[in-house]
């Protein structure tokens, strides 16, 4: 999944972990470069709480997060979980990176929509 530092992304991580546990598979969390080491550790810890191995990947310099998500999805043959951003007025915003990923997806993409959000 594509993990950034928004509350929606963290909630989507919980959803992805539920999926992974039900399928008895691990989860690759591709982290935005802005995600701190502590947040990466948090993703691993949340996985452990669900008994799911979480592998954290960080895009190398010069790469983009969406490219790494695309690569990971293709390599693993897995579906990808993403969460669009919500603005202050709760508009759903995809952004250029997510649009690129959706249109170039290597397989199924789950666009997570929080049931808690308007």
């Amino acid at each position: 999944m594509w993990l950034d530092n928004s509350p929606w992304s963290w909630e989507a991580l919980g959803y992805a972990l539920q999926l992974a546990r039900a399928r008895r598979v691990g989860l690759v969390a591709v982290c935005d470069p802005g995600l701190s080491p502590q947040d990466r550790d948090r993703a691993v810890a949340e996985g452990a709480a669900w008994n799911v191995d979480v592998e954290v990947r960080v895009p190398p310099p010069g790469s983009r997060t969406e490219w790494e998500v695309w690569r990971a999805g293709g390599e693993e043959g897995a579906e990808v979980v993403v969460a669009p951003r919500r603005t202050a007025t709760r508009k759903v915003v995809f952004g250029a990176g997510l649009v690129w990923l959706l249109t170039n997806a290597p397989g199924p993409v789950v666009v997570y929509r929080s049931p808690k959000e308007p």
Partner: protein
């Protein structure tokens, strides 16, 4: 400081009053959104589910809010909602039965003036690239597009640069409100 109410006749000859949103109008505001044409929802708002709609109205009314009232109903609503970066995001909706009547332009102008009086300086919004009518409205009041991708555009306005008097587009009801517009203004 409260906003003085402004009254005018819309292009259909209906009496419209603009004023700052009052908490006791919450039921009328929710009723407007419950009757809002779902085809005109844009970027996920307004929510369809009644519970989520009520929560969303709570979010919007935490900011600076102006409503358009007509014959005992709320028929338009515009809000400036503070974001985490110290700016304010704009949202504006006019009920479908009242679009194309010059209400949206005046509602937006009133909101921006109230926002400026309240110390709001930077306003932004997102709009779908195909929503040309909404973009024309935003451009008329001074917004400029600052970013764009295939699904959404970001427009921004510094309120210090806002023209002070008069509705956009000339005479009071000549603001080019759309006949029908995704985004619902």
């Amino acid at each position: 400081m409260s906003m003085p109410a402004a009254a005018f006749w819309d292009r259909m000859g209906r009496p419209v009053q603009l004023g700052e949103y009052r908490p006791e109008e919450r039921g009328l505001l929710v009723a407007m959104y419950r009757a809002f044409d779902p085809d005109q929802r844009a970027q996920g708002i307004p929510p369809l589910h009644p519970l989520r709609l009520a929560e969303w109205v709570e979010v919007l009314t935490e900011g600076v809010n102006v409503v358009a009232r007509c014959e005992g109903r709320v028929v338009g609503h515009a809000a400036l909602v503070p974001d985490r970066a110290g700016s304010h995001e704009l949202a504006i909706f006019v009920h479908q039965d009242y679009q194309g009547a010059g209400i949206g332009s005046r509602l937006l102008q009133a909101l921006l003036e109230l926002g400026r009086a309240r110390g709001v300086r930077h306003v932004w919004l997102t709009v779908e690239p195909w929503n040309a009518r909404a973009q024309a409205l935003y451009r008329r009041v001074g917004f400029q597009r600052s970013a764009a991708d295939p699904w959404e555009e970001v427009w921004e306005l510094e309120l210090g640069e806002l023209p002070v008097t008069g509705p956009p587009g000339g005479t009071p009801d000549s603001g080019a409100s759309p006949e029908r517009s995704p985004g619902g203004w």
